[in-house]
Structures are given as C-alpha cells and as structure tokens.
C-alpha cells in the first residue's frame, strides 16, 4: 500500500524525538565547554617535564636524548653551566618544545632514561601568534609529579616504583639527605615510597629506560 514506508519512517523519527527526552542513549551530545567527557587514562597530548616537589627539582638532566630522537625536531635543549667553573651542570638551562611542531608521538617519553618527560592531557591550546605562540619554555613545561599522578595514576605509580628501586640500587648510602624531603599525598592510588629526586650528582648509571607500558 502506498504510504507504508512513510508511516514506518515517521514512527522511527517520532520514537527518536520522544526518547531523546527520557533516554540518555538517545541524546549523546556533550555540551562541550561546560560538560566534558572524562578522558581515558592513557590518552595523551603534548609532552611536559616532571619535577618532584618543587620546580627546582626537575628530573631532567639535559642529556639531549629526546632532542635527538624527536622526529619533527621540536625540542631544543641547552645545558646549564656552572657560573664559576663553566662546567656543565646536569640540568637544562633552556628546555623548549614547540607544540605547533610536536606531533604527540610520545617518543621523547619513551626514550627518556630519567622519566623526566611525560605526556600531558591538555588539548585545548590556542594562540594568536602563528610562529612563536606555541613555543613552550621550561617554565611552562614544568609540572609536578602529583599532577602526573592525577593524570596517569597507573603509569605514574610504575614510574615511581622503578625510580625508587634504581635509587636504592645505585647509591644506598650516598643518598644525600640534603635533597628536599618530598611529600606526595595527593595521588589517589597507593604508591610506593616516593623516590628522592635525581639530584644533579646522584645517578652515575642511568636506570633502564622504561618500556612502553601503554
């Protein structure tokens, strides 16, 4: 009969129309700036630098492995030199990442032997300057270990465990208590005891680079 298909179609649309008021499955839109989906734990965006406790205590030792490995060459590192002796200190003076070039491949995080560079989840970036707007310097890149724990709890716990283990193995007596005592309490899952920050002089042998765990 003429019109059968039309009536069936009308029923389908009517059902969708009415169900969208009762059934959340029929209204899948998220009102983005106000409502957000919780990101999956392993989602990642741009790299950042992890510090323990205070921003001075960053894990990076300016070994420049990430700079060499970075496929789009978006990382630029300069080693800090002692003001008096001129000898290199194991920390970066300049650590820049150009987010507009970065392709979020996570290779820098894979190769870092000190677990100093990790992947962030902040994806809402915008700027008005096309060339320098997304160039992040060290200050902008530094983020705390707590933040890392909040973002990727499983992965961060693993990293912490590994770091503390290698610390014990490498220099059990020589661990300098001068390093700032760190209190890390914000991360929700239970963690092993927090590791001492890698002070510039401590690790003679770098720990095994972490395996890809995601």
């Amino acid at each position: 009969m003429l019109g059968n298909g039309m009536i069936q179609g009308l029923l389908v649309t009517a059902r969708n129309l009415l169900r969208s008021y009762f059934d959340p499955e029929c209204l899948t839109t998220i009102q983005y700036p106000e409502e957000r989906r919780t990101l999956p734990e392993n989602s990642r965006c741009f790299p950042f630098l992890v510090y323990d406790g205070t921003p001075d205590n960053l894990r990076c030792v300016a070994c420049k492995i990430c700079e060499q490995e970075c496929p789009p060459q978006c990382i630029y590192i300069e080693v800090e030199r002692d003001a008096k002796t001129g000898k290199p200190v194991r920390r970066p003076r300049v650590f820049d990442i150009d987010y507009s070039v970065c392709m979020q491949c996570q290779i820098c995080a894979e190769v870092c032997p000190f677990d100093a560079i990790k992947m962030d989840q902040i994806y809402e970036l915008s700027g008005t300057d096309r060339f320098g707007g997304m160039l992040m310097n060290k200050g902008a890149l530094l983020k705390s270990n707590e933040y890392y724990h909040q973002m990727h709890p499983t992965e961060a716990n693993e990293v912490d465990a590994r770091l503390s283990q290698s610390k014990k193995k490498a220099s059990p007596p020589a661990a300098k208590p001068a390093a700032a005592p760190i209190t890390l309490q914000s991360a929700p899952p239970p963690r092993p005891t927090p590791s001492a920050p890698p002070s510039p002089s401590v690790p003679p042998t770098p720990p095994v680079p972490p395996k890809s765990d995601v």
Partner: protein, 412 residues
C-alpha cells in the same frame, strides 16, 4: 467569561480605535476649534482599524515565524538525537532574535553581473503574497480580516504570485544553480497547484461558497460537540485533507519537496546569491507561506476556529495551525528528498486522479440522503469505500509504475 476571552483581541482593538478617534477629536479641537465631522471620524476609525489589523496579523505571524524556526531546529535536533539551539534565552527561545540580528548586520552581496533591478525586487515580491494570504483567513469568531465572497480562490491566486517571485530571484542572480532551482520551483509549484486547488474543491462544493467565513460557519456545531462537523471526519474530507497537506508541502517548497533548494545538488537553489536580510526575507516568506497554508488547511478541513468551548476560538485556530506546522517539521525530519521525475509523476499520475475522484466521491456524498443517523452512517460508509478503493487503485497501479526503479545506462 468565555466570551470575554473569545473576543479579547477585538475588544482591545475597539479600545485602540476609540482612543485614536478621541485623540483625533482633541487635535481637531485644538487646531480648528471644533471636533471631527461625522465622516472624518468614520474615516479615522476605519483607517485605524485597517492599520491595527495589519499590524496585529503581521506582528503575530512574524513572531510565529521566529518561533517556528526555533521549533523546527529544536524538533529536527531531537529527531536526530541532538539538543538543538539552547544558548540564547531559556531553551534557546530567543535564537531567532540572534539570527535576525546576524542577518541584518551581514553584508548584502549582489553579484556583479546580476540583473540588479530584478535581483533587488525579488525578495520583496516573494514576501508580499505570503503576507497577503493571511487576509483571507478567519482567525476566530468575528475575526476575519476581509469578508470576501471569493476568498478561497483569492488565496490561491495570491499564492500563485510567489512563483513569479521565485523565478525573478533565480533569473536575476545570473547563476546557473539559482536558475535551475528557480525553474524547478516554478515547475513544481505549477504542478502541485492543481491537486492543491482540486483538494479544496470538495469543500467548496459541499458548502456552496468560496467564502472562508462561510466554510468555517458550515463546520460549526453547538457547545462541546463543536468539532463533530469538521470536514476532516468525513471520508472525502479526510482524503482531501491528506491531498491538501501533501500539495501544501510541495507548494511551500518544504522537504521532501525541497528540490528547488536541494542543498546537495543546487547549493541553495533560487536564493544562492542572496545574503543578509534579503536572504532572511526569502526565509521568512517560506515560513509565513507555510503558516498561511496551514491556516487554509485548518479553515477548509479542520473546522477553522471551531472547537470545544474550552479555549477561545482564536486559540483553537492557532493551535490547529501549530499542529500542522509540527507535522510539516516532523515530515521534514523523516523523509529524504524526491527525484524530479518522481515528483512530477506523483503530482500528475497519483495526486491528480485521486483528487478528481475525490470530487466525484464528494458529489456522491452530497446527493446521498443523510436525514437519519442510519442514512448518515450508510453515506459515510459508501463514500469511505469509494475513497479507499480509489486509494488502492492509485497505490496499486499508478504509483507502482511511477515509482519504478530508474534504469541507469552508465552508472550501474
């Protein structure tokens, strides 16, 4: 109490007219030292009344246009499992205000090689018939703007004027998409005007008048049964109503008959080259024309302003019109666009014979005796059987062939 609300708008109008006449008297006394003469006062009152009627109708329906765009976006969104506009005002109700401001502030672009005059005139010419059509609809008890003897045919005649406007828009733009859209629009509207008029003919036959006021009066009954004599309850009236709805959808160029502006093939059809407020006028003309068509459908088949005395008459009219608009939106959310050959085949091979047969059915109904209840039931059943048989024949033999699969020579 009921009468108060029923005639509320008229009372307010009379009050304003009286106020204006009194002011006129005051001004006249101040200037000339004597009140207005009898004839002058009458002229002032009549002029004020005309202005008031126009302002009220256009104000109300411009607002309805805005709300209809909001409703359309909201309903379509819900059908597609989205929220729809919900930013401006509560539930996004003021979205149309924001849209209007946007349209007003946009640049008005005229193509360099366009026919400037025709391109400029088309939006005005397209809106005029749409607005004029309201002049012939009775909106409530004692609320007909005009009381023409020939209102139904006047409605269709005025509506026919918009075809020329669409052609002007398409041709004046000097753009191949717009001219294609315009030719499609003209061909479609001229084809569907015939079933549209033929669908209205049974009502005119039974009432014996072309006046919309009399058509509405013929569908009235007393008290709570005020909906018992709507023509849509009779078999021929039902068939006519369906035919009218389909043809009205095509006349107002709405989905599934929106080939003239088919976005996927013609960008936007006849109004490709219009931007800013000229585009808004086209948009407005489409919606206001759609509401006018809904109003005529209500007048012809759904009893006009008649309804159980729970609501004032004008509310019944607006409510029924609103339902038809909702139906059109629902249809738009459901059906895909027709092909041109299907469109023409449906108009000429399915709707035209069915409409003609419906006129015959109406004649049968008209001459069958309906004095007693039993006779009425028999008449109802006989005409219902005729309509059903006609529908079956149309769907079995005509539409099957009209909707046959097209053979593609190269694409298959």
């Amino acid at each position: 109490m009921y009468n108060f609300f029923d005639q509320l708008i008229l009372t307010l109008g009379a009050w304003v007219v009286g106020l204006v006449v009194a002011c006129g008297n005051g001004v006249s006394k101040f200037c000339c030292g004597q009140p207005l003469s009898e004839a002058a006062a009458h002229n002032v009152a009549a002029g004020t009344e005309i202005v008031l009627i126009c302002v009220t109708i256009y104000g109300v329906f411009a607002l309805c246009f805005g709300l209809a765009t909001w409703l359309e976006r909201k309903m379509l969104a819900r059908i597609q499992n989205r929220y729809g506009p919900n930013r401006v005002g509560p539930f996004g109700l003021f979205q149309f205000v924001a849209d209007g401001v946007k349209m007003l502030t946009k640049e008005d672009i005229v193509p360099a090689r366009a026919d400037k005059l025709v391109h400029f005139l088309a939006p005005a010419v397209v809106l005029a018939p749409a607005l004029l059509m309201f002049a012939f609809l009775p909106f409530g008890r004692n609320m007909a703007p005009t009381n023409l003897d020939t209102a139904v045919i006047a409605f269709f005649a005025v509506g026919a004027g918009s075809e020329m406007a669409l052609f002007m828009a398409g041709w004046g733009s000097r753009n191949k998409y717009s001219i294609l859209g315009a030719m499609r629009a003209v061909a479609q509207m001229i084809s569907y005007e015939i079933p549209l008029v033929l669908a209205a003919v049974p009502v005119v036959m039974v009432v014996g008048s072309l006046s919309t006021s009399q058509i509405v009066a013929a569908q009235g009954a007393d008290g709570f049964l005020d909906m018992s004599r709507w023509f849509v309850w009779t078999p021929w009236g039902f068939a006519g109503f369906i035919l009218f709805l389909v043809a009205a959808t095509a006349e107002s160029n709405r989905c599934p008959f929106d080939l003239p502006e088919g976005e996927s093939e013609l960008v936007a059809g006849f109004h490709v080259e219009y931007s800013g407020f000229k585009f808004a006028l086209f948009f407005m003309a489409e919606y206001i024309g759609m509401m006018a068509m809904a109003g005529l459908g209500v007048t012809l088949f759904l009893g006009g302003w008649h309804g159980p005395k729970l609501l004032p008459s004008w509310m019944w009219f607006m409510g029924k019109g609103f339902l038809i608009v909702c139906w059109l939106i629902w249809l738009r959310g459901t059906l895909p666009r027709l092909r041109v050959d299907q469109l023409m085949a449906f108009a000429w091979k399915a709707m035209l014979p069915f409409a003609l047969f419906n006129i015959f059915t109406t004649a049968v109904w008209f001459h069958l005796p309906k004095a007693t209840l039993l006779q009425s039931a028999v008449a109802w059943l006989v005409t219902a059987a005729l309509v059903a048989a006609a529908y079956w024949v149309v769907s079995r033999f005509v539409c099957r062939r009209a909707g046959a699969l097209r053979v593609y020579h190269y694409a298959s």
